[in-house]
């Protein structure tokens, strides 16, 4: 008798979980959609540039599917030669993607409730966008008691991005030469728009925002005066130094 009851209730929780995951997946797809559409022109341009540098339409999805980090792919394509200079490509990839280390660090406390075997594959899909949306979602006001990271939400955003990225970069490789200049249509502005909204969501007073403002200022200065991609590192590192200084006084 009691066994039966347990069965019934566990079946019910399971059903609830499935329904809940479904809701979380839909929520992820919905939140990801505006950013997803903004990514399309980037992907087409990358695919087109890659074929221009001598990659064939089979190698393009191989790169975008295995590496899956747009910024480093753009950077690598800029410096791509035939044959490719391996050390230079690794160095540039590491430089551009070192921000993932910071992003990953912010997820560590949120991921502690999941097993390692789930986290390691899930992290393969971490992008600027899926990280930013999921991080923001975990700390959003609806989770009143404690921050809660939703794995189905994160995976929905990530996998929709993955599919779109690999598909559209391949498409770009195939139809690249007929596209022309996509910059004039303004799609690239979707990118800063997304990050401005996300930063607004994290805003909790000017004092806490001092490291952010310094990070932005240093990044803009580096971008302006120092060629290359150093700004992605220089700004955040300076900002975090300031955060460490201020961190002791304010808790």
């Amino acid at each position: 008798m009691s066994e039966q009851r347990v069965d019934v209730s566990s079946a019910k929780t399971q059903k609830d979980n499935v329904q809940n995951s479904k809701k979380e997946i839909l929520r992820g797809l919905k939140d990801g959609l505006p950013v997803l559409l903004g990514v399309i022109p980037f992907a087409l341009v990358l695919g087109a540039q890659a074929t221009h540098k001598g990659l064939n339409p089979f190698e393009v999805p191989l790169m975008t599917g295995l590496n899956f980090a747009g910024g480093s792919e753009f950077a690598a394509i800029q410096i791509w030669t035939s044959p490719p200079r391996l050390l230079l490509i690794i160095a540039v990839t590491l430089l551009v993607n070192s921000r993932h280390i910071l992003m990953g660090a912010t997820l560590v406390p949120l991921l502690s409730r999941f097993p390692k075997r789930k986290i390691l594959p899930a992290l393969f899909f971490m992008t600027d966008e899926s990280w930013a949306l999921s991080y923001n979602d975990a700390y959003s006001k609806k989770n009143r008691t404690a921050p809660l990271f939703s794995m189905p939400y994160y995976m929905a955003v990530s996998l929709s991005f993955y599919t779109m990225w690999v598909f559209c970069t391949t498409l770009g490789a195939l139809i690249g030469p007929v596209l022309g200049d996509l910059h004039q249509y303004g799609f690239d502005m979707a990118f800063p728009a997304v990050f401005l909204v996300l930063v607004r969501g994290m805003w909790s007073g000017l004092y806490k925002a001092i490291p952010w403002i310094i990070s932005l200022a240093v990044s803009v200065a580096f971008c302006h005066f120092i060629p290359g991609l150093w700004y992605v590192i220089a700004g955040p590192v300076t900002g975090l130094g300031i955060a460490a200084l201020l961190g002791g006084n304010d808790a």
Binding site: L62, I101, V194, F195, L198, Y231
Partner: protein
């Protein structure tokens, strides 16, 4: 078929990128962080996100700067889709008329 040197380059890139994604998790997952480290972690998303958009501020293109300022104002009061659509429209309009 991919040329083998291209294939090696792609595989090395993929490995490097995955390493950046899991490094923090592997190193930090069994540690207890100090309040100062937590403060640094808390402010790092904003620092990184604003660094991403630095090239738009540094472009020096008046059309981009105006579009970016207007988009920032929209971002203060409106939802994600509204802000994204406005940003794209602003960029399209100002680039069309100012260049």
């Amino acid at each position: 078929m991919p040329e083998y040197k291209t294939l090696i380059a792609i595989l090395l890139m993929a490995f490097t990128t995955y390493a950046t994604r899991v490094t923090a998790y592997i190193m930090l997952r069994n540690r207890v962080l100090t309040p100062r480290a937590m403060a640094v972690l808390k402010s790092s998303p904003g620092c990184v996100m604003l660094a991403f958009i630095a090239p738009f501020f540094a472009s020096g293109n008046p059309a981009d700067l105006i579009a970016l300022c207007l988009t920032s104002f929209v971002a203060i009061g409106f939802s994600m889709p509204v802000t994204v659509i406005s940003g794209v429209l602003f960029a399209f309009i100002f680039r069309y008329y100012l260049s």
